[in-house]
């Protein structure tokens, strides 16, 4: 995997961490990149449980919209991540590009 590439599960965790830290801008950017990546991937024929993933993504966007960031983080880290992991076992070489993972502390 190249430096600019990450696994979808790492990207999901990075977005979750940014939400838990209250870093709204960073979290939103990570989330947009993740959803842009996931949307076509989960439409692929081999992706497991597409319906559940679509439901979770809907719930994630609703949580983000009402600024319930810790719920958004939970969905990313524990629920969506579960299906991404299953998806990754079906497509082990899948990677995301140009995901801003690094979180810098403000202090």
């Amino acid at each position: 995997m190249a430096d600019s590439e990450v696994s979808p599960i790492s990207a999901s965790k990075a977005a979750a961490d940014a939400f838990r830290l209250g870093m709204e801008g960073q979290a939103s950017l990570n989330l947009i990149k993740l959803i842009d990546f996931l949307s076509p991937w989960i439409q692929e024929p081999g992706f497991p449980n597409r319906k559940e993933m679509n439901r979770l993504l809907g719930e994630l966007l609703a949580a983000q919209s009402r600024k319930d960031y810790l719920r958004a983080a939970d969905l990313l880290e524990y629920e969506i991540a579960r299906w991404i992991t299953v998806g990754e076992t079906c497509s082990p070489d899948i990677v995301m590009k140009d995901v801003p993972l690094k979180i810098c502390p403000p202090n």
Binding site: R20, G22, K67, Y69, L70, A73, Y78, N107
Partner: protein
């Protein structure tokens, strides 16, 4: 664990004993909030006004992450938001920590949390001090924050909430700017001839000593002041931000100085198109060198360059020294700093709403205008009436940076044109100024 009166008493008796003044302030917390115990996840948590107070899966791990914002070696720490009490508990496990100040952002939320979670571990720790955000003027470092509590902050805690969010966002904003640096350096390269030939903003400094300067920003309430502006009969120097230019001209008002700083050509160009620019041949444009040449070259009057403190300008400043204006994301910042450096003893801010009064992003007629009435994902600040008015995270940050700037100018009187937009700390209101004048007590 379900709601427990015993637990509530156990928690609150520590506050009553150790911080009686705070207890007196919070015990009657009366903000109406809707809270319920969400047991749908492995670790139940409180769900308050549509916000989960903590993780429902791993509360200790979440608290560890949030606490990690405070360096492990630090003897001091501030925590903004109590949450479920897990973050203070995690921080206090550090033997090097000598003092932890926990800042309450919403007493009603804390009182709910006391009913469901055991907080006695941190409340009883002698290293802990407790504070109310309402009493705080600024934030302290190093800090950790509980984001759910920031979202649920009470109205008096809004300013501290915004300052915490602003600090949390700063590394991301800086990284985003650094990513644009290559393009901006290229833009400055293209503008070198202009930068070399144009004057220095310092030519304006001190030129309006001891007088009033009006700064016209592009918020919706600018339109309320057209008649007032016309009635002043050019008595005051008028500085306009670029987005306010077109609506001002349509109202028959021609500012003395226009300020433009943004590098995004397609966003800025419409501000200067379809207006009789020739009427500005005796007016001044103040700009940062990253503004697109297409915008700069069409200005018929005097152009004066300026820099911000960004390291982006270091090299070009060496070759073409010019003065600096305060900049923190909004064109309003350098416009206000310019007014101060021109020598104003009073700066009147019109349309500096930093929010969306009436559901609009900008004053009607501005090319940047858009309707925000249906946008449900907005944040809020308090307006001059003490009511919540919708805004964005960016505008909220600009407001707090403006307030910090104003706090550094005690010799200047700041006047806010309207109570409909965001309340700006240390700015009085135009109607108060006008009333004072009528009573013969104004300047």
């Amino acid at each position: 664990m379900n709601e427990s009166l015993d637990l509530f008493r156990k928690n609150t008796c520590f506050i009553e004993r150790r911080w009686p003044e705070i207890w007196n302030r919070i015990k009657g917390a009366s903000q109406r909030i809707q809270a319920y115990w969400d047991q749908t996840t492995p670790q139940p948590t409180l769900f308050i006004d549509d916000i989960h107070l903590s993780s429902g899966y791993d509360q200790v791990s979440e608290a560890g992450l949030q606490a990690s914002l405070v360096p492990k070696s630090s003897p001091l720490a501030w925590l903004y938001g109590v949450g479920i009490g897990e973050v203070p508990r995690v921080l206090l496990q550090r033997s090097r920590l000598e003092r932890l100040t926990v800042v309450i952002l919403n007493p009603s939320v804390v009182m709910q949390s006391f009913r469901y979670f055991d907080h006695t571990c941190w409340l009883s720790d002698p290293r802990v001090d407790l504070a109310l955000a309402d009493n705080e003027q600024d934030i302290h470092f190093p800090f950790a924050a509980v984001p759910s509590c920031l979202q649920l902050a009470s109205e008096p805690a809004a300013r501290i909430r915004d300052l915490v969010f602003l600090e949390l966002a700063t590394p991301f904003i800086q990284a985003k700017h650094r990513a644009q640096d290559v393009e901006l350096l290229q833009r400055m390269e293209e503008n070198l001839n202009l930068i070399r030939c144009d004057g220095d903003v310092a030519e304006l400094f001190g030129s309006w000593q001891g007088k009033t300067i009006v700064v016209a920003a592009a918020g919706p309430t600018l339109a309320l002041h057209y008649d007032w502006l016309l009635a002043q009969d050019e008595k005051y120097c008028l500085i306009a931000v670029d987005a306010a230019l077109k609506p001002l001209v349509e109202a028959g008002i021609y500012p003395n100085v226009v300020v433009t700083i943004d590098s995004f050509r397609d966003g800025i160009y419409p501000f200067f198109s379809s207006i009789p620019l020739l009427r500005f041949s005796d007016k001044t444009l103040v700009y940062f060198p990253v503004v697109h040449g297409d915008v700069l070259k069409q200005w018929p009057g005097r152009r004066l360059g300026s820099y911000s403190t960004s390291t982006l300008y270091e090299r070009v400043r060496e070759h073409y020294p010019k003065e600096t204006l305060f900049s923190s994301g909004s064109v309003l910042h350098p416009s206000v700093d310019l007014a101060v450096k021109m020598g104003a003893s009073r700066v009147i801010l019109l349309g500096a709403d930093l929010s969306f009064p009436g559901g609009s992003s900008h004053v009607s007629g501005s090319p940047a205008f858009c309707n925000k009435a249906e946008d449900k994902s907005l944040h809020w600040v308090l307006n001059g009436h003490g009511k919540k008015v919708p805004t964005t995270a960016n505008l909220r940050g600009y407001l707090r940076d403006l307030e910090r700037y104003i706090a550094q100018c005690p010799e200047v009187e700041f006047v806010n044109g309207s109570k409909e937009g965001a309340h700006i700390q240390r700015a009085c209101y135009l109607e108060e100024m006008e009333n004072g004048r009528l009573r013969g007590i104004a300047h």
